[in-house]
Symmetry: C2
Subunit: 173 residues, 2 copies
Amino acid sequence: MKRGTYVLVAIATTALAAAFMVPGAGHGDQEVFVTTIPSGYRDWKLVSVAHEEGNLNDIRAILGNDIAVNAYREGRLPFPDGAVIARIAWTYVPSEENNKVFGRAQSFVAGPPPEWYLQFMVKDSKKYAATGGWGYAQFDKDGRPAPEAKMKTCYPCHDPIKSRDYVFTKYTP
Amino acid sequence: MKRGTYVLVAIATTALAAAFMVPGAGHGDQEVFVTTIPSGYRDWKLVSVAHEEGNLNDIRAILGNDIAVNAYREGRLPFPDGAVIARIAWTYVPSEENNKVFGRAQSFVAGPPPEWYLQFMVKDSKKYAATGGWGYAQFDKDGRPAPEAKMKTCYPCHDPIKSRDYVFTKYTP
């Protein structure tokens, strides 16, 4: 090799080593979170619905982008990179209007957004390797991302569902 | 007029009169129902979610085709012809898996489809003039349309919501 080539190889090696050491690059023990709301999520297809009692007291829809919903429908696990799953929560409120028509108190509908309105899981097996290949996100009703301390609670909670690639919600046709 | 023209006019008039007398053509007091599942409904955008207690005991999603969802988002009433709204119901079941992670019994999810799995409202202000411009449909979990006696209960139940073009569900962003 010529001297010039040696220099280039040395630079490349240093750059590569540096890349693996950059804090926040998502490697090693570094936790990385999603801090931007994925665009167009409200137009995505429905995965399923749920109701949480207790402190949450919400009614929720789980949506997925095309990559996520196709994987769900094909029963493909783990989810491929690019899959994004959205959870929208609404306050759980009785519907007086519906109850009047039904003739009894039985109807609960989606009310205004609660404090923690939106959650997302973004699949990127390299970027989010430290948290099972998923980047987690949570946004309040004004679109502000949750503080890091709150974000850190996502992954440990999803860990018991490792056998379904950390995703709680099952697709319901 | 020549004799031939008289004959043509007479035939045309008779045909026109006959058209208005055909049973099932959707005019007058004739009730007409939707008996085919609108194709692709499971890919439609989400309008909102709800939970019904009592005999129904379901958790449900309301979806709309693009015409319906655009009208909802623009606050456009009445809904334009071509709008279709779908209601999918699932049995309301506790999730032991979720409860274990939450550390308390609080989580309810969508289970297998109930007997009356699907409902639709199809807007065609001419065809369904007798029932507020909407054609109603109900299908069981095997895709069979409900008997006519059951279909006849749809419109009277929606009538109190005439001010919102007979549509119960409000869009939740």
